[in-house]
C-alpha cells in the first residue's frame, strides 16, 4: 500500500491530493515568513510607521509666499537600548527645490531636538537625544511633524519636478 492510496478515496486522483498538500505547505510557509517578517519589524530597534507622506503646497498670498503645509501622519517607533542612545535624521533628495523640515512631537523617552531642516546630502543630524537605557518603557512612538514650504522664487513642481526625499532615521549610541 502506497502512502497515496491510504489518503485517496476510491475513485479520487492521488496526484490531486499531492497538489493540495503542496498548496497547504506553501501557504503555511508563506504565513510563517510573513509572521517572522512582522515580528522582526516589531522587534526592530527603530521603525518608521505610517507610510510615505506627500505634502502638497497649493495656495499662496500675493505679496507674501505660498502657505506651508504640515503633515503629522507618520511616526517613528524606537526601542530601549542597552546604553543611552539618540536618533539622527538625514535625507537624500537629488535636485531638491523646496524646503522640508521635521520635528519629533510627543517624545516621552528622550529629548526632541529643535526642528531639523532636511537638505539633500546633509550629515546625520540629532533628532531625539538622551534616550534612556533604563526605566519601565520598552518602546515609544513619537509623531513625525513634517513641514513643507516654498517661496514663489523657488518655482513649482510642473517646472521643477517634485522633491522626493528618502528620509533615514538611525538609532545609535549617544
Amino acid at each position: 500500500m502506497t502512502p497515496n492510496s491510504t489518503i485517496a478515496k476510491k475513485g479520487e486522483d492521488p496526484g490531486r491530493h499531492r497538489s493540495v498538500r503542496k498548496v497547504i505547505s506553501f501557504g503555511a510557509l508563506l504565513a510563517v515568513v510573513v509572521w517572522v517578517a512582522t515580528e522582526a519589524k516589531a522587534q526592530a530597534p527603530i521603525s518608521v510607521r505610517g507610510g510615505n507622506p506627500t505634502l502638497n503646497i497649493t495656495t499662496g498670498w500675493p505679496g507674501s509666499e505660498p502657505v506651508p503645509v504640515v503633515n503629522t501622519a507618520t511616526s517613528v517607533r524606537y526601542r530601549r537600548q542597552a546604553a543611552i542612545s539618540k536618533i539622527t535624521v538625514r535625507t537624500t533628495c537629488p535636485g531638491q527645490s523646496f524646503t522640508l523640515k521635521v520635528l519629533a512631537t510627543g517624545v516621552s523617552e528622550g529629548v526632541a531636538a529643535p526642528e531639523v531642516t532636511l537638505v539633500n546630502g546633509m550629515l546625520a543630524t540629532d533628532f531625539i537625544t538622551n534616550i534612556p537605557s533604563t526605566g519601565t518603557w520598552t518602546t515609544t512612538t513619537p509623531t513625525l511633524r513634517y513641514t513643507a514650504s516654498a517661496t514663489f522664487a523657488q518655482g513649482n513642481s510642473a517646472e521643477q519636478g517634485n522633491d522626493v526625499h528618502t528620509v533615514t532615521y538611525t538609532i545609535q549610541v549617544q
Binding site: I57, G60, G63, G155, Q160, V173
Partner: protein, 195 residues
C-alpha cells in the same frame, strides 16, 4: 551566558584574554608571556580609539516624503476703488487741457511661481470720455513699462516679474480737455499675469 556587548572592543578583549589564559598554561617562557600581554594592551588601545570614533548603530529605517508645489498665480489690488476728480480749478484760459489729477494711493501685489511672466492692464470701458493713464512705481520685482493710456486691449504694465512675490504703487492720471465737456467715466481695471 548571552551578553549583548555594547562595543566590539570588549568582544575582542575577552577573546584575547581567553587565548592569553590558554597560552599561559602552555607557554613556559616568561618573556613570551610578556610579549602577549603587551600585544594585548596594544590591541586594546587600538580598538579603544577606533571604537570611540565610530558610534555603535543599533538600527535604521527610512521612508519617502514627497513635496509638491502647485502652479500658483495671484494678483491683487490693495483697494477696491480709486476716484479722480477734475474740477478745473487750475485751468488756464486759452488751453484745452483743463486739468490733470494723479492718484497713487493704491498698490498692486502679486505672487507668481512660474517662470517668464508679466502683468498686463486693461479697462472695460470701451469709449471713455476722458483719458486715464497708468504706470507702475517702484516695483519690487520686474520692469515697469512706460505710462500707458488704458484701453480695452491688454497692455504690458510690468514685465519680467519671473517667479516672484512683489508689490508696486499704481499711479493713475486722469486728463480732461475742455473740448471733452463734463461727465463721469467709470472704469473697471483688470490686471492679468500672463506669459
Amino acid at each position: 551566558m548571552n551578553i549583548k556587548l555594547i562595543e566590539p572592543i570588549f568582544e575582542v578583549s575577552i577573546l584575547f584574554t581567553r587565548v592569553l589564559l590558554r597560552r599561559t598554561r602552555t607557554v613556559k617562557s616568561g618573556r613570551s608571556l610578556k610579549k602577549l600581554v603587551v600585544l594585548h594592551a596594544l590591541i586594546l588601545c587600538h580598538f579603544c580609539l577606533v571604537g570611540r570614533a565610530t558610534a555603535q548603530i543599533y538600527g535604521s529605517d527610512f521612508h519617502t516624503v514627497t513635496v509638491t508645489v502647485a502652479t500658483i498665480t495671484n494678483v491683487q489690488v490693495s483697494s477696491g476703488s480709486v476716484s479722480l476728480s477734475i474740477t478745473g480749478a487750475g485751468a488756464v484760459a486759452g488751453q484745452d487741457n483743463i486739468g490733470t489729477v494723479v492718484d497713487q494711493t493704491t498698490n498692486l501685489l502679486w505672487g507668481v511661481n512660474s517662470a517668464n511672466r508679466k502683468i498686463t492692464a486693461r479697462t472695460n470701458l470701451g469709449a471713455p470720455q476722458f483719458a486715464l493713464k497708468l504706470v507702475a512705481l517702484n516695483p519690487t520685482q520686474g520692469t515697469a513699462m512706460p505710462e500707458v493710456t488704458l484701453s480695452t486691449t491688454a497692455t504690458d504694465f510690468l514685465t519680467n516679474i519671473g517667479r516672484s512675490s512683489g508689490t508696486c504703487t499704481l499711479r493713475y492720471t486722469g486728463v480732461a480737455l475742455a473740448s471733452q465737456g463734463t461727465g463721469t467715466d467709470s472704469h473697471t481695471v483688470t490686471f492679468t499675469v500672463t506669459n
